[in-house]
């Protein structure tokens, strides 16, 4: 292995003296470096946006949700909450009850998702509903429940007037237009008794593993319940993010494929130019497999130089763009003020690995052809 590596290194160094091969090699090197740079910067951009979205999900939504397997109520929810509090000490637990009500400041009420939550103290609307109804903090709205109560005049809907205490941003991953109430108030309005329809849990220390821990904590108690983690709760969004990343990788990765084809031509050109050298090397004892390795190292050497240069340049560029906020975004449209870039070392390693794999494939064909050559022919035709 040592002699092939040594020769490949000397050939690479010697390429500088051969103008036409050096030019083609420089083009291969620059193409690969640019391809890797583009891929690193693009994936850093995607990762920047996606990690912002994932961060929003983690900071503003439940990390796990417990729902009844059938019906709309969780049986023995008090006991369930006690068990969860005992076994998952640092986890935030919020009891929730939900229904669709008619909500409006006067007669123009609209169907609205109303949620009673144990973690809030006053009536809150999200900005979507606030805009739809034209209301703000301090305004009063009427909430008409789907529950009926029997009166001498027949069944009439239960309703109440609430004073809005806050307007909050919509929760990511959930349709906008919601009214949140304190749990007890909502239970009274929607059910007339202490019913809990769902339990939301949050554990900022381990948001993605919370569902599994809940399953373990509940044991047989969870047989009548469904536990959904972040992955299940936001499956379409997370799938879309993964798909977006894969498609962008493929699209920008095509640049690398083109660069690899260029490298293939480059290595083939060196192989043609070194036809006699290869015959002489055969003459002094370099076997076919060693000749093949020599050209693989040659291609890999050019590919590695290009990939590493591109990865370093791409990483530095992404870090500078992120730190200097060089690409601002309009406020109010996006949740961030400038285009975020996040360099994931594993992603950079993956891109470099992909470039090296392509370089290896590109060098494989000319190296195979060199190894199959008849050494006597190389000497005969000189």
């Amino acid at each position: 292995m040592g002699a092939e590596l040594y020769l490949a290194r000397r050939y690479l160094m010697g390429l500088r003296r051969r103008t036409h091969v050096a030019t083609v090699t420089a083009i291969s090197f620059v193409s690969l470096a640019l391809g890797v740079l583009a891929l690193v910067v693009t994936l850093a951009l995607l990762e920047g946006f996606q990690s912002t979205i994932r961060g929003e999900l983690i900071s503003r939504t439940a990390h796990a949700l417990i729902l009844p397997r059938s019906g709309r109520r969780i049986p023995h929810h008090d006991r369930l909450v006690s068990v969860l509090q005992a076994k998952l000490a640092d986890v935030e637990i919020v009891q929730v009850v939900r229904a669709t009500c008619l909500v409006g400041p006067a007669s123009d009420a609209i169907p609205t998702r109303v949620e009673g939550r144990s973690d809030i103290r006053g009536a809150e609307v999200d900005s979507v509903l606030a805009a739809r109804l034209g209301i703000g903090p301090g305004d009063r709205v009427e909430v008409i429940s789907p529950r009926r109560r029997l009166t001498p005049l027949g069944p009439v809907p239960v309703h109440t007037w609430l004073k809005i205490t806050a307007v909050r941003p919509p929760v990511p991953g959930r349709e906008g237009g919601a009214l949140d109430l304190p749990l007890k108030q909502a239970q009274k309005l929607l059910w007339g008794r202490p019913v809990v329809g769902a339990i939301e849990l949050r554990d900022p220390a381990d948001p993605w593993g919370l569902a599994t821990r809940i399953d373990r904590a509940l044991g047989p108690l969870g047989s009548s319940l469904n536990v959904e983690g972040l992955r299940e709760l936001h499956r379409p969004l997370l799938l879309a993010l993964s798909l977006e990343r894969a498609m962008i990788f493929l699209a920008v990765g095509l640049m690398l494929v083109v660069a690899a084809l260029n490298l293939l031509c480059n290595v083939a050109m060196v192989a043609a130019e070194k036809r006699t050298d290869m015959a002489v090397l055969s003459g002094i004892g370099v076997g076919p497999s060693a000749l093949r390795r020599l050209f693989l190292f040659l291609g890999l050497g050019i590919g590695a130089a290009g990939a590493v240069t591109g990865a370093i340049a791409g990483t530095v560029l992404a870090l500078i763009l992120n730190r200097t906020h060089a690409l601002p975004l309009p406020r109010g449209v996006f949740i961030v003020s400038s285009v975020p870039f996040k360099v994931d070392p594993a992603m950079v390693a993956g891109v470099v690995g992909f470039a090296l794999l392509l370089s290896l494939l590109a060098a494989w064909f000319p190296s195979r052809s060199v190894s199959l050559r008849d050494p006597a022919e190389g000497l005969r035709y000189e």
Binding site: G2, A3, Y6, L7, R10, Y11, M13, G14, R17, T276, D277, A279, V280, L281, S282, G283, I284, G285, V286, G287, P288, S289, A290, D374, P375, A376, L379, R380, E382
Partner: protein, 225 residues
């Protein structure tokens, strides 16, 4: 070594190029034996197959028919890797044109067979320096092929051929590109090294004078004559 002292034995060798109507037969029913320590000259007109014969002995080419034995072992059917290993350890090549690698200096060119055999860089350099000294180029080790004269390039090629101390030296018109004085000096060097290193040498040459100074001359005649 074989019991009868034979270094090379070719039996019933046939070799041709091309196929069908355009096929040219170069060697037919060729038998040749070379004993250990012999300095053999192969002579004949251009195109008669002298280089082909040398390539067959040097396992760079395969015969269409016949067998090749080196030190009594049949190597005709050896695979490409085995042939390469034999070329590295068993024989040294000197070609008409020096065929030094342009990217390596004289010392590195001489050391190359040793590097291929897996010797350490230091051991290879020491052996290369010794050989360069033997061929009178001790001071030229750092020079690249394009900084050497034709005679010097060929002397470096000889040093490279002897790097692994092979028992067999194959030279294909080693003086073909040199003037009379350089040819004389180079052949004297080959002859001197042949004796010093205890080599068996086969030299293809057009030069009758050089051939006359070898132990034996093998004449090749065109097929069919």
């Amino acid at each position: 070594m074989s019991e009868n002292g034979l270094m090379v034995r070719l039996s019933g060798i046939a070799k041709g190029y091309g196929s069908g109507g355009s096929r040219v037969e170069v060697l037919r029913h060729l038998d040749l034996e070379v004993v250990r320590g012999e300095l053999l000259a192969v002579v004949g007109p251009s195109g008669v197959g002298k280089s082909t014969l040398l390539h067959l002995i040097g396992l760079l080419d395969r015969p269409d028919d016949g067998t090749i034995e080196l030190e009594g072992r049949d190597v005709t059917g050896a695979d490409a890797e085995r042939r390469a290993a034999l070329r590295n350890r068993f024989m040294g090549f000197v070609f008409q044109y020096h065929y030094l690698l342009d990217e390596l200096d004289a010392r590195e060119n001489v050391a190359l067979p040793l590097r291929i055999a897996g010797r350490s860089s230091r051991a290879a350099r020491e052996r290369a320096d010794l050989l360069l000294d033997e061929v009178g180029l001790a001071e030229r080790g750092d020079h690249f092929p394009n900084q050497l004269s034709g005679g010097e390039q060929q002397r470096v090629a000889i040093a490279r051929a002897l790097a692994m101390s092979p028992p067999l030296l194959l030279a294909d018109e080693p003086t073909g590109n040199l003037d009379r004085d350089n040819s004389e000096r180079l052949f004297s060097l080959v002859r001197q090294l042949h004796l010093m290193e205890g080599l068996t040498s086969i030299i293809v040459t057009h030069n009758e004078e050089i051939a006359g100074r070898c132990d034996r001359v093998f004449y090749l005649v065109p097929v069919g004559k």
